[in-house]
Symmetry: C5
Subunit: 155 residues, 5 copies
C-alpha cells in the first residue's frame, strides 16, 4: 500500500497538516498517511528525507507558513531550495505548500488560504501518485492552488 | 532510438509542452517523446530526473511560465538552480524554457513568446542531441530564443 | 545512550552554548552532551557534520549570533543553507539557533533573547529526539522561540 | 597529452571561444583543445562536466556573455554557482570567463574586453595546468583579467 | 606530521597568504605548509579540495580580497557557499579569510586589515587543529578577526 508523508511545523498558525490529511482521506483510499511535525520550515527538508528513507513514503507534502519579515522570506527560500534538493536525492516528489503570512489581507483570509491551498495540493499529490495523466490534461492551463486559477492566455 | 523528455506545468498559462512536441515532430524523426506534467516550476527538477532515470530520456526540455511577483521570481530561481544540479547529477542536458509573465506587453504577445521560445529551444534540443557541430558554428553570434537575435557585436 | 551535540561560535556575544546545555540538563537526563566551538557561523556546518560522524551525535544544536551588517546577513544565509544540506547528508536534525544582533532594541534584550531562544530550542531538540508526538500536538499553533508565541489564526 | 576544454555559448555576441583557442595555440603546445558550444550560460556547467568525464579534459574554460537585465544577472549567478560545484565534483579547475554586457561603454569596447579577458584567462589555464608556481609568484599582487591590473595596495 | 594548506589569489591586492604563513611559523611548529595560488576567489573551493585530497592537508586557509562592486560581492557569495560545501565533502575545516575592498577607509588601512585578519585566522587554524579546547573557552565572548573584538553583551 502506498504511503503519503505529511511534514508540517509548530510555527504555522493554521493546522495545514490536518487540512491536507482530511482532504486526502475524503478524496481517496488505498494509502496510509504518516505525519511528522517539526519546529519550522528549515526543519522540513530532513523531515521529508526521513519520511522517504525511514518511513518509506512514496510522496510527501511539506506544509509551512513563513512570516512576513525579510528574515522569514530568507528562511523560506533556504527551505525551498533544500526541499528541491531532497527530491533529487530521493527521486520522489515533495509538494511544497507554503502560505506566506503577507499573502492575505487579514487572519481570516489567511486561514481560508492555508486550508484551501493545503487541500488543493493534496489533490495534486494524489494525482502525481495515482493519476499522472490528469496533470498532463491540465498542463498549460493556468491552474493555481489557493486563490483563483489564472486560466489560459487569451491570444 | 533516442528519447526526448518534455516536463511542463499546470501553472503555465500556455501549452508550451505541446508547442515543443509539435516543433520536435515537425523538424525531425527518429526519436520518442515522453511527457510529464507537474503543478509548478519547482516540481520540474525531480520530474526531469525521473525522465532521465526512470524513462531513460537522453535530453529533457523543462518548460514553465513563472509569474510576475517577487515570490514567483524566487521560485523560478530555485527551480533554475536545481535544474542545473539535475544536469550535473545525470550528465545530460536539460533545456530550461522559462517565459516570465512580465516579459511581454500583453497576453497575446506572451502567448506568442511562449510558443516561439518553446519551438526555438526544441531545435536547440535536437542540435545538442543529433548535430552538436551546428551549435559550434553559431557560437558567439548573439542568438536568442523567443525575441529577435541580438547578433554579433559591431567592433 | 543518546548524544546531543552543541556547536557554537567565538563570534557570538552571549554564551548560547552554555544556556542550551544548562536547559538540556535541567529538563531531562539519559543523554550525553558534546560541545564543539568554532570561530563563526560559517564554520558551524562542518562542525555539525563532525559531531554526527566523528562523535556519533544523534541531534545537534547550532548556535550563532550574526551581526547586523549586510555581509553578516549574507554569512548567516550561507551558513543556514549549508546547515540544511548537512542534515540531508546525515539524515539527522540540526536545530539552527541564530539570534541576529538587530533583533533586539539593546544589549540587555539581546542577551535575554539569546538565552531564551537557546533554551526553547533545547526543548525542541529533546522533543525531536525523545517525544516527537509532542510536536505533532503543537503543529499549526503558531509557536515561536525567543519572543512571544504568535498563536493560532483567529478565523 | 593534456586536453583543454573550451565551453562557450551561442548567446554570446563575441566569439570568445575562438579568442581563447587562438591564445592557447599561440602561447604553448603539447595539448589538445576540445570545443563544446551550448545555447546559454546555464547550459555550461553540464557541458564542462561532459568535457571532463566524456572527453577526459584536464581543465576547462567556460566562456559566456550574460546580458544586462536582472534576469540575465540571475542566470549568470546560477551558472557560476554550478560551475564551482562542477569543479568540486570533478576535482579539476574550470576558469569562468564571463563578460557582462554592461561592463563596457559601447559595443566596440565590449568586443575588446571579451577578447582580452578570454586571452588572459587562457594564460591562467596554461599556468594552472603546466606552471602553477607562476601563480604563486603573482599571488596578492592585484592582477585582473580584461581591464587594467589593480596592483598591490600602497601601504 | 600535520599539513596546513594555504589557498590564495592573484586578484588580492595584499599578500595574505604570506602573512598567514608567517604567523603560522612564528606561533608554532610541528606541521608543514603547502601553498596553492589561483586567479580569483571562485577558484578557491576546488583549490582547497585539491589541497585536502591530493596533498592530504588537515586544514586549509582560503584567503581572498573581493572587490567593492556588486558583481564582486556576488562572486564572494558564490565562493563562500562553495567553500562550506567543500568542507562538508571533505569533513575538514576551511577558514575563509576574506577582506572586502570596501571594509577599510583607505589602502593603508586595507593592507593593515588584510594582514591582521590573516594572522588572527592563522591562530584559529592552529587552535582548531591542535587546541580545540581553547575555542570552547572563547565561545560566546564576541571575538572578531581583524578589527577590534566586540566582546560580551552587557546585560
Amino acid at each position: 500500500m502506498k504511503k503519503i508523508g505529511i511534514a508540517d511545523t509548530t510555527f504555522a498558525r493554521f493546522d495545514m497538516g490536518n487540512a491536507a490529511i482530511n482532504e486526502l482521506k475524503t478524496k481517496d483510499t488505498g494509502f496510509n498517511v504518516i505525519r511528522y511535525s517539526v519546529p519550522g520550515v528549515k526543519d522540513l527538508p530532513v523531515a521529508c528525507k526521513k519520511l522517504f528513507e525511514e518511513q518509506n513514503c512514496d510522496i510527501v507534502m511539506a506544509l509551512g507558513m513563513p512570516g512576513a519579515k525579510p528574515i522569514d522570506k530568507q528562511c523560506a527560500h533556504e527551505a525551498s531550495t533544500a526541499l528541491i534538493q531532497t527530491q533529487l536525492l530521493c527521486n520522489k516528489h515533495i509538494l511544497e505548500v507554503f502560505v506566506h503570512e503577507d499573502e492575505a489581507k487579514d487572519e481570516k483570509e489567511l486561514a481560508w488560504l492555508a486550508d484551501k491551498r493545503s487541500r488543493e495540493h493534496a489533490i495534486n499529490a494524489l494525482d502525481l501518485l495515482f493519476k499522472p495523466e490528469k496533470l498532463v490534461k491540465k498542463a498549460g492551463k493556468g491552474f493555481r492552488e489557493g486563490f483563483e486559477d489564472a486560466g489560459s492566455l487569451r491570444s
